[in-house]
Structures are given as structure tokens and as C-alpha cells.
């Protein structure tokens, strides 16, 4: 079953900005899906259309087989949304906010109260249930929006940058929570600028840029497409020129840091062999950037350069 099918979705805002230029996307039931893209790519716009907060200019949206144009109410009741920006009444209490939201979905009060207790406890907000929403910290506000989105137990949960500005500890516990509800059967679509998060959580990914999908694959395949990785070696002794490493591209970024690009099929052992032969001691080593981040930069970079030419179909990975 498809949880979500977008066909040729377009959106031109009144000010003339073409935020979506024809998006085709299918997300399977049960998936944990990452929708990635730089600022202004069109992620929030796409989510806005799916949650009927934004009028589309063209195309179709289907949620669990329900077309949004023909079965709007049924489609809506399948979706839970955690928006990018705070959108609850800051003067209402935490408990009121979640119970009322359940009410808007037609859930009677007694059941709504039970669920409020369950989700507020799971998201560590139960102690603050009688606080005015304005008095919550930024991270608590994000969790409140997650609890609110779950009150009607949607089959598809869409989170637009849920972990923006959330500390590491809370972020990890949010990850764990999302993983759990995904395992229990909720389909999840997530946007984030923390690529580590997407790499950690998501099984499938689409990358959107300039209103087009430029990549759509499983996370594993996407990562495999990355041909090279850059490693940084911290050298114990200072030097100015990089050592000779035949077959590798190497440079010194400062007198202790040696950066080496390693292509697929090349072995780190070779680098160590050469370094040992020259008597160079390595005190530590790390990946220059997170792998998905690297791929992302290349794709977005490549598509920006190719944009005038490639007006149409989504392209495959732009390998360097």
C-alpha cells in the first residue's frame, strides 16, 4: 500500500515564486522516509499541500489511496503533522492544546484525556501539562507538537524539522521515540537539516532542490553512490608539504592536518603503509564530513550548476 503518492505536484505562490516545479513521489506504508533539501528547496511547501495548509497549483495528492480532491476529510484524518514553526495557541495549557486537537479529529473527551496522558508522558511533558504553552522551552514546544500530532493516531506522521534547536540528549530520545512508533506501524516522513539524523533513522530518501526532486532512492543506495570519502589524518610532527602518496589526492590543510581523498576500491592500509615507510606518525584520524552530508553537497552543487540545462526529469546522482 502507498502511504503517499504525489503526481506532478506544482506550486506557484502569488508573488510568482515557483516553489514546486512538478514533483512525483511515492512513499510506501511503514516507511521511515527522509525529505531532504537546502533552505527554500520546497519541502515545507510540499508538506503544506499534503496537509492542506497550502493550495496547490497543479498535480494530485493521494494519502493511503484517498485522493485529496475527492476524499479530503478521509485523507486528512490519516495524517498527523508536526510543522516547522510553532503553531499552537501560546496562551493555552499543554493539556488543553492536545485534548482540543483530538476533539477537532472527532475523538471524544474521555478518550482524548487518556491519550493525552499517554503521549505527554512518553514525550516527558506530563509534569508540564498545566503550564501555559508560552512558558515551555523550545525543545518542549517541539515535543508538544509531536504529542499533538499523535492524538488521533495517524497512519502517516509528517515532521518538518522536528529536531531544529533541540539538544543532543532530547534529540536522541526523540529518535528513539520515532523509531518505536515507526516499528509499531506508523509511516513517517521527516525533513531535517541534520543529515546524520536522516542517515540514522530513515530507510528511504528523496532530495529536493529548487522545487524538483533530484534524487530518490534507498538510504543504503544513496550512500553507496558516494564514490569518494575524505579522511583527515592528524600528524604528530609538523610538516609543510604532503608526503608522497601515489594514487591518492592529498594536501596539508595546516601543518598537522593531512587530508586524503579515498576513492571506492582504494584501501586505507595503503596510506598507512606509505606513511609508515616515511616514518610519519599519525596521532588520530577522522572522516572529514558525514557521508550523507558530502553527497548532499555534491548533488545540490551539481544541480545548481546543471539547473539551466536540466529543465525536466529528476536526475540520478551527480558523481564528481
Amino acid at each position: 500500500m502507498h502511504a503517499l503518492v504525489l503526481k506532478n505536484l506544482t506550486k506557484t505562490y502569488k508573488n510568482g515564486i515557483q516553489a514546486l516545479k512538478g514533483i512525483d513521489l511515492t512513499v510506501e506504508e511503514g516507511d521511515f522516509f527522509a525529505l531532504l533539501g537546502p533552505n527554500g528547496a520546497g519541502k515545507t511547501t510540499a508538506i503544506g499541500i499534503i496537509t492542506s495548509l497550502v493550495n496547490k497549483s497543479g498535480g494530485t495528492v493521494e494519502v493511503f489511496g484517498h485522493d485529496m480532491d475527492r476524499e479530503l476529510e478521509t485523507a486528512k484524518s490519516c495524517i498527523g503533522i508536526v510543522p516547522q514553526e510553532i503553531n499552537f495557541n501560546l496562551f493555552e495549557t499543554v493539556h488543553t492544546i492536545v485534548v482540543n486537537q483530538a476533539g477537532f479529529y472527532g475523538i471524544p473527551r474521555p478518550l482524548a484525556r487518556q491519550r493525552a496522558e499517554m503521549y505527554l508522558k512518553q514525550l516527558q511533558l506530563w509534569d508540564r501539562r498545566n503550564s501555559i504553552a508560552r512558558s515551555l522551552s523550545g525543545g518542549m514546544k517541539r515535543r508538544l507538537m509531536i504529542a499533538r500530532a499523535l492524538m488521533h493516531q495517524p497512519r502517516l506522521l509528517i515532521l518538518d524539522e522536528p529536531t531544529a534547536g533541540v539538544d543532543i540528549e532530547i534529540r536522541r530520545s526523540m529518535w528513539e521515540f520515532l523509531r518505536k512508533i515507526n516499528e509499531e506501524g506508523t509511516t513517517i516522513i521527516l525533513t531535517t537539516h541534520y543529515l546524520e539524523e536522516a542517515e540514522n533513522l530513515c530507510r528511504n530518501v528523496a532530495i529536493i532542490e529548487g522545487g524538483r526532486i533530484i534524487e530518490r532512492d534507498s538510504m543504503a543506495n544513496v550512500l553507496r553512490k558516494l564514490q569518494t570519502e575524505t579522511f583527515v589524518f592528524n600528524l604528530s610532527e609538523a610538516r609543510t608539504a604532503p608526503p608522497a602518496l601515489p594514487g591518492f589526492k592529498a594536501q596539508m590543510t595546516d601543518e598537522h592536518s593531512l587530508e586524503v581523498e579515498v576513492s571506492k576500491g582504494q584501501s586505507l592500509n595503503d596510506i598507512f603503509t606509505h606513511l609508515s615507510a616515511e616514518g610519519i606518525a599519525v596521532s588520530s584520524m577522522r572522516n572529514k564530513v558525514n557521508r550523507l552530508e558530502e553527497l548532499f553537497m555534491r548533488l545540490v552543487d551539481g544541480s545548481a550548476r546543471a539547473a539551466p540545462a536540466a529543465a525536466g526529469a529528476p536526475r540520478g546522482a551527480a558523481t564528481p
Binding site: 505562490y13 502569488k14 503553531n87 499552537f88 488543553t96 477537532f104 479529529y105
Partner: protein
């Protein structure tokens, strides 16, 4: 429509109404007290101080004459004010999105806000009625006319507030219409005088003012006399309800002012 859908929609509607009611109570210092204070001042100044010199209007003393008008004015401004500020506040604070993403149909969202407007209009109107009865004895000739005129008027102006809020982009926009249109029309709608006291041209012009019909029908409920033809008054009120509801709903369906 299935029974479960109907039940779900009822729960959703009730949730909006409860939320509106709680809002009125939570900010009672803005919603309930000022109109009551204003009305009391009107009664003291116009009713007791000036009214004593005015004498009788249409066979009733001036205080009795203006009391229904002042109650109706309160109902109008409070119904309008409640919906315009609550709905615009929800739009401005973005929590309107809570309703927009939910499966509640638009007509029900609209009805929820109307119910909120009626709640406040009737609540404050009742309060002013209590104040009025301190100053004068109010006869009740036709209770059904009183109730029906209040409800229809309240619905019309709740809808007016709703449409205003849809178009408003900032807080100035929600005070513009009440200040420059609603208040003048109310003052000129026979709240403080009988239009039969006016020169001919003003009398004719007054009949283009829908508020005149509402105030007159309401006053008829208390005093049993009316400045206008009652059948026409009810026709105009019913027509206004239908026109305003259709307008508000079609704007809402289009997403005017709330969906990009």
C-alpha cells in the same frame, strides 16, 4: 453521512465552542467587563441625566426606549468583536492551522465560530439587560421576537466578524470596520432615537440601514411598538443571515486570506 462521521463532527464542533467559551472567560477583562461598563455609562448619562429632559418616545419614557437599543448594540458589537478577534488571533498566531489540518468540514468550523459569537453576544447582552433593569422597568411583550431577533442579529454580525478576520492582515484591519462602519450604522440605526423623529430624507435614508430593522424588531419584543414593518424586518434579517453565511463559507472554501 455515516453515524460515526456525524458523531465525530459533533465532537469537533463542540470542541470549538468550548474553546471559544473558555477564551471569553479567560480574558473576561477584555470580553465581558468593558461592554458592561460602557452600557452602564450610557444608562446613567443618556437614560437618567439627559433622558429626564427628553420626555417620552413612542409612549415610553426615554430610558425604556433606549434600553432595548443599547442591549442590541451590545449584542452586535460583542458578536462581531468575539469572532473577529478570536479568528484573526488564531490566524495571526497560526493556531488556526490546528483546525485547517483537521478533517472538520469548513461549514462546521464556521458554525463553531458563530456559536462563539452568539455565546458572547448573548452573555454580555444579558448582563446589560440586568444593568438596564436596575435603571428602569422593562416590559416583555413578545419574548419570541426578542429571542429570534437577538439570535439572527448575533449570527449576522458573527459572520461579519468572520469575513473581516479573513481579509485582515494586521490588527488595524480588525478595528477599521467596527470603527468606521459598524459603530456609525449602529448609532444611526435607531438605538437612541425613533427614526420617526427624523426629517423626511433622513428617515428614508435610515431604511437602507439593516441595523434599524434589527433594533426595531428587538424593541418590538419588549415594548410592542416598532419603527418599521415587522415582516420586512424579519425578511431582511433572514436574508442577511443567508447572504453572510454563503459569503463567509465560500471565502473559507477558497482559503481566502488563510491559505497561500
Amino acid at each position: 453521512m455515516s453515524a460515526s462521521r456525524a458523531r465525530a463532527e459533533w465532537v469537533g464542533f463542540a470542541t470549538i465552542v468550548i474553546r471559544e467559551f473558555n477564551r471569553i472567560i479567560r480574558i473576561w477583562g477584555q470580553t465581558v467587563v468593558p461592554p458592561a461598563v460602557t452600557a452602564t455609562l450610557y444608562f446613567v448619562i443618556f437614560g437618567s441625566l439627559i433622558g429626564r429632559r427628553v420626555g417620552s418616545v413612542g409612549g415610553y419614557d426615554y430610558m425604556q426606549f433606549i434600553a432595548p437599543g443599547l442591549i442590541m448594540m451590545t449584542v452586535i458589537t460583542n458578536s462581531y468583536g468575539n469572532v473577529v478577534s478570536s479568528f484573526f488571533g488564531a490566524k495571526f498566531g497560526k493556531h488556526l492551522e490546528e483546525l485547517l489540518v483537521s478533517p472538520l468540514p469548513n461549514w462546521l468550523i464556521l458554525c463553531g465560530y458563530i456559536a462563539g459569537g452568539i455565546l458572547r453576544g448573548v452573555l454580555v447582552g444579558a448582563l446589560v439587560t440586568v444593568v438596564a433593569s436596575i435603571f428602569t422597568r422593562l416590559p416583555v411583550q413578545h419574548p419570541l421576537a426578542i429571542v429570534s431577533a437577538v439570535l439572527m442579529t448575533s449570527v449576522v454580525f458573527s459572520l461579519g466578524g468572520f469575513v473581516n478576520a479573513l481579509f485582515a492582515k494586521n490588527f488595524d484591519h480588525i478595528s477599521w470596520f467596527p470603527t468606521f462602519v459598524l459603530t456609525p450604522l449602529t448609532y444611526l440605526g435607531g438605538v437612541f432615537y425613533s427614526v420617526s423623529m427624523l426629517p423626511h430624507w433622513a428617515l428614508v435614508a435610515s431604511h437602507a440601514n439593516p441595523i434599524l430593522y434589527m433594533v426595531s424588531a428587538f424593541r418590538f419584543g419588549f415594548l410592542g411598538t416598532s419603527d418599521v414593518n415587522l415582516g420586512l424586518a424579519y425578511g431582511i434579517m433572514a436574508g442577511a443571515v443567508v447572504v453572510m453565511f454563503t459569503l463567509a463559507l465560500s471565502l473559507l472554501n477558497r482559503g481566502a486570506g488563510i491559505r497561500d
